[in-house]
Symmetry: C2
Subunit: 432 residues, 2 copies
């Protein structure tokens, strides 16, 4: 069974993920050979600098000629773990044109230029697998693309960025404010020196793009995603959420909304009883609601060299099996062509905390402001603090634009001293 | 894309799952057609009695000739949702012999006679998919078989029976004893009139058999599984677990242990902080530990007609795509051929609660009994209750046979009035 001709693997990139892929290909060679039906042989590793120290990697495999390696006639499978747009894009396109099967972990490229990449995969009949691009080790794309192929997905709610989850988790458990929690995350290696991609939600938005496309069989690009990071989440927001039995998480949300789909990344309050609420530290988890399957959740390590390499290896086995069988995996289907709604048209719920005068007659003008914009209030709670009072309002579902307009108006009311916090509420049944 | 020749589906069984499969095939026809690349057409439904009322099912599709339907020359895909050993076994074998692709939800058959069924699938080159056989709607077998194909699974810990999870959940939240909680489960439809298969662990053991085979690439049959149900779990066990920050769950456990694999189903105490601890009611969840991926968890509805039908539909789409591509899914691999260890050789930890005399000098003979069997004690807690005391002992890992022998000896000690409870402890790092 494993006596067949070896399948040759070209590895593009040898960083945290790539070095682990190389190690596992060697350490697991016997198992992989039986599971695939032929040995997998590492044909070469494209790197930027040959001089780097790479313990455990045979220097003879290294090359700086990534294009040459990706298109080498004897290579069957190209694994791209460089990340970013270029040169990854050109390398993938060249490899597919040359009949290679592709495995990539490149979320940014798929989110920004997925259409071109998928079109090339179709044109050249090339396998294109990318389980590692979203939520690291967690098997998620294969279940969405294959296990739920006979179901209708309504909503995907995911914690898909470990750095921000670690920060929010610290803020929740220790009462720290954002900048202290970020510093701690950086000290522990959970956040990079330049944390922008994580804390501003770019990373989560790229993953939301990919998830929405798979879940709704619709073309979605990064520009379609409404994105807010966590830099403006305050210790007061976290405390206010806690008082109401909720917790703040940065969520990637993909959902059917009205006649289209809404794709967004923003901090939100979810009930502490929601399965996602217990996802702590740098873990990831994705909650899927489907018409027949009901609620599903997938949980695990969302990043890290070795966990991500596990997902890459699973894809390598899949494309290798396909290659031996002379077939390929299911294409990305975009037949549904649902419109991606602008954020203003998306239905959401708001949690609003106001600092108001502590005197009778304050609630009426506030309630009128909501009513004028057609926003229905679900719950109000008022707490006195000296001559000031805190007024917390949670709304029913409404168009996001109507909610935003309400907030604008609240800031103009004489009785409202400040809008202390505004945050969306997710993961709850719409109360009646 | 969906203009191809229809693929014809024969449905064997029209109960809770079958009727939902029939409904979804009809309601989702357009989506399924695009996703598969050809329309799926329900060719017929084999039932035991034609006289039954079946709302929404076209009576012209019904037949009592299951063999005739499963082997009909125009049928491409046979879906078996009858359950049990016969006639399901004969029907599957006949269908594969006649070149059909197979989808089944039959855990009992795969656990008891999986070897024969898989051998027939290999011999006839027939696809055999059975995602719905374990944990209902939760995509679990495909991730194990494909996503983790490049990884090494160390352990699978699963809550795979909703009935027993509901009962234990009720006992934990309300303090009810087993018989009251069972009665409530029966009244609510979560337990059958004859609950034996669930409460004695047979259902969970069948699922453990299937999971262990996939996780360890090893032949496992139902007879290899050590099985204990929940009928002897007492309110006192539950209370004692709670005092120690643990909760009692019926677990299906598949793990590498020493030189082989251990497969077992029994109630166990797990820490309340473990992701499985929060899985309440009739939900299922499976926790997987793999060398590279780390800890993963899959959560969702483990039973019910519609959720299970979602998994069946996903498999129908997969085998239909394979059929159109002239290929088939990965075969069950059993190359590792690891020995399945007898329970006595399995490494476990015990939680033991003893009623003892409340006087000095009791602990010494108890500790000696453990030591004589080579069992190391991790923690001891003693609470006085009048002239009697409760002594709770949690052990380090040891051979199950040594632990069982220790318990036998404890019952003979003069100072020990009764062994009040013995339960295994799982899901914790072995403390040092």
């Amino acid at each position: 069974m494993n006596g067949g001709k070896p399948l040759k693997v070209a590895l593009l990139g040898c960083g945290a993920v790539g070095s682990q892929v190389a190690r596992l290909l060697s350490e697991q060679a016997n198992d992989l050979s039986v599971r695939v039906g032929a040995p997998l042989e590492l044909a070469g590793i494209a790197v930027r600098r040959l001089s780097h120290q790479r313990p455990g990697i045979d220097p003879a495999l290294l090359t700086t000629d990534a294009v040459g390696l990706a298109t080498r006639p004897d290579v069957d499978i190209v694994v791209e773990v460089i990340g970013g747009l270029e040169p990854a894009r050109s390398l993938l396109l060249a490899a597919m044109k040359n009949g290679k099967s592709l495995v990539t972990a490149n979320k940014a490229l798929l989110a920004e230029q997925g259409e071109e990449i998928h079109a090339a995969s179709r044109e050249h009949g090339a396998d294109l697998y990318y389980e590692a691009a979203v939520a690291g080790a967690i098997p998620l794309l294969r279940p969405l693309r294959e296990s739920l192929a006979g179901d209708t997905v309504h909503r995907v709610l995911g914690i898909v960025n470990g750095t921000t989850n670690f920060i929010l988790d610290r803020m929740d458990t220790s009462g720290a404010d954002f900048s202290d929690a970020l510093e701690e995350a950086q000290a522990l290696g959970y956040a990079e020196a330049d944390p922008t991609a994580d804390i501003e939600g770019f990373d989560a938005a790229a993953k939301a793009t990919i998830l929405a496309g798979l879940a709704f069989h619709t073309r979605v690009t990064a520009a379609d995603v409404h994105r807010e990071g966590i830099t403006e989440v305050t210790a007061a927001d976290i405390a206010s959420a806690r008082q109401l039995g909720r917790i703040v998480k940065l969520l990637a949300i993909c959902e059917r909304s009205g006649s289209g789909v809404a794709v967004r990344v923003h901090p939100a309050m979810i009930p502490r009883t929601h399965p996602l609420a217990a996802v702590g530290g740098a873990y990831n988890a994705v909650f899927v609601e489907a018409a027949s399957a009901g609620s599903l959740m997938f949980y695990g390590a969302g990043a890290g060299g070795t966990p991500t390499a596990s997902a890459v290896l699973g894809d390598i086995v899949a494309v290798a099996r396909n290659r031996l069988a002379g077939t390929r995996g299911p294409e990305l289907s975009t037949y549904a062509e649902l419109p991606v709604l602008p954020m203003g048209d998306t239905l959401t719920r708001y949690h609003v905390s106001l600092d108001v005068d502590d005197r009778p007659g304050v609630l009426a003008p506030v309630a009128e402001a909501f009513a004028r914009h057609g926003v229905s209030i679900q719950a109000v709670r008022q707490a006195s603090r000296g001559d000031e009072a805190q007024l917390v309002i949670v709304t029913h579902e409404a168009r996001d634009a109507a909610l935003a307009a309400t907030i604008s108006e609240l800031t103009t009311l004489p009785a409202v001293r400040a809008v202390a916090s505004v945050m969306r509420v997710e993961g709850e049944e719409e109360p009646s």
